[in-house]
Amino acid sequence: MKVIITVIGNDKVGIVAAVSQKLAHLNINIIDMSQTLMQGSFTMMLVGDISDQTTSFSAIQEELTKLGTQIDVTIRIQRQELFDAIQKL
């Protein structure tokens, strides 16, 4: 199952490191990633694979939200199918 993880917040040192470390810890494989600065705001999107997960979706979400609060960014995780449903025929 693929998920889209989005990280948005003020740019500072260590966001990519903190997020990727947490994902590794949660055993989420990063398939693709993109990172830009949009109007001064740090925006990162990752495609992750959570097929081999033993942790529940809500627990992963909780972990990421907690990390987001710690490093002062918004981290969101959503299943990928939603984006395809809206944007593709």
């Binding site: 989005t6 993109s34 999107m45 809500s58 979400q61 199918e81 984006f83 449903a85 809206i86 944007q87």
Partner: protein
């Protein structure tokens, strides 16, 4: 990775208030009919709580996993006037109470179907149900009621029109806010997921999942990008936006139906405003080019919007149904409220708008001393518009006392 599309989708949800307005489970109660009130109520409670046992949980799970808000979890049932007709008692409040209890125990927001269909005439249950509406609404928290008093085929039941004026006044005498829980229709649809007018039609399957999706803010934002462009581009933009929004309903409805193991019914894309800023149909009309809602041109702009929303939505889902279009509930729409306060929107203009919107005179407050006959007059006018133009019309008026 399609970062632009991901960003656009997130923006639709975060900033433009795209949401699943309601997931509504329609449940037939025909197999709960009994001539004994207690037995019938017991069966109704049993059936609703069994079928909808997981509805709230499934909706919450989907919201968490996909990040799309599902605002309301609702149930609609077969019009109670039919289900209760077999009992000898004259008062059907017990049925409303059992619906309320089932909804409360399940954690459902609203339950609709304390309803009667009298477009051509009354059966014995219809009369008793309508007489029970004021007490039923005042004794319950989550029950909604509707009465269909006319249709294009049958015409208008003027006795019912007269009676409903009195019923609205009776409800207002108890608590004017309860008037929000009663819709009086012409050409009511059987698969409407939106409240207060939802009931589970008699031609429907035993149990279905219907989705109601909304997003006036998404349409408004899209129109901001095409300011000053010709009307065909405006219309095309609304269609494309309606398509995307409806896809969310189709997608989420499919998942919900599968998880609940219940057939998926329809998606109803209705631009339903809420009091939140940026969630207004009036603002869309003004974005199309009106100086203010209510100004000359309003009916045309609303017609364009309603038409394009319907066309965009049709292609996006397997079964489009319900009311699909644009709602104009006056006191739930910031832009409408502003127009009324500025003296730009009159009741007469609003009535003209109902000839092209998807429902009717919705959430309109009238002075508390408005007579029953005047309310019946308003209702008859709306029903006539619906009957002649082969469209659903309705009134939900609130006589504001004090």
């Amino acid at each position: 990775m399609e970062t632009k599309q991901i960003r656009e989708t997130l923006q639709m949800i975060d900033e433009e208030h795209l949401d699943i307005r309601t997931i509504t489970m329609g449940i037939s109660l025909f197999d709960c009919i009994d001539s004994n009130v207690e037995k019938a109520c017991q069966r109704i409670y049993q059936k609703i709580t069994t079928k909808a046992h997981d509805l709230v949980k499934v909706a919450e799970d989907i919201q968490m996993e996909y990040g799309v808000p599902i605002v309301n979890k609702r149930i609609s049932v077969t019009p109670i006037a039919m289900i209760a007709a077999a009992v000898a008692t004259d008062n059907y409040v017990a049925y409303a109470k059992v619906l309320d209890k089932a909804a409360t125990d399940l954690g459902i927001d609203i339950i609709g179907g304390f309803s009667a269909l009298v477009q051509k005439g009354y059966q014995s249950g219809d009369r008793k149900l309508i007489a029970s509406i004021p007490e039923a609404l005042s004794e319950t928290n989550k029950v909604c009621s509707s009465v269909n008093i006319g249709s294009t085929r049958a015409g208008i039941n003027m006795n019912a029109v007269a009676q409903m004026g009195t019923i609205v006044k009776d409800i207002a005498a108890i608590d004017p806010l309860k008037c929000m829980n009663l819709v009086i229709f012409a050409n009511a649809v059987e698969d409407n997921p939106f409240m207060a007018g939802a009931f589970h039609g008699i031609g429907e399957a035993d149990c279905v999942i219907n989705m109601g999706i909304s997003g006036p803010g998404v349409v408004k934002r899209a129109l901001e990008q095409v300011k000053g462009q010709p009307f065909d581009i405006v219309s095309e933009t609304i269609k494309k936006t309606a398509f995307k929004v409806t896809r969310v309903g189709q997608f989420v409805g499919n998942i919900a139906a599968k998880r609940l193991n219940i057939p998926f019914g329809i998606v109803d894309l209705s631009l339903a405003p809420t009091p939140a800023a940026g969630d207004s149909v009036a603002e869309i009309l003004e974005e199309i080019g009106l100086e203010s809602v209510g100004a000359p041109g309003t009916t045309a702009a609303l017609a364009l919007l309603n038409d394009a929303v319907k066309k965009g939505g049709i292609m996006a889902c397997e079964h489009v149904g319900g009311l699909s279009g644009a709602f104009i509930p006056v006191s739930e729409d910031q832009g409408m409220i502003k127009a009324v306060q500025a003296g730009n929107l009159s009741l007469e203009k609003l009535e003209a708008m109902t000839a092209v919107c998807s429902v009717g005179l919705d959430m309109v407050a009238v002075p508390g001393d408005t007579t029953a006959a005047t309310i019946s007059g308003l209702l008859a006018d709306e029903a006539a518009i619906g009957m002649i133009n082969n469209k659903t019309t309705a009134i939900r008026v609130i006589p504001a006392t004090g």
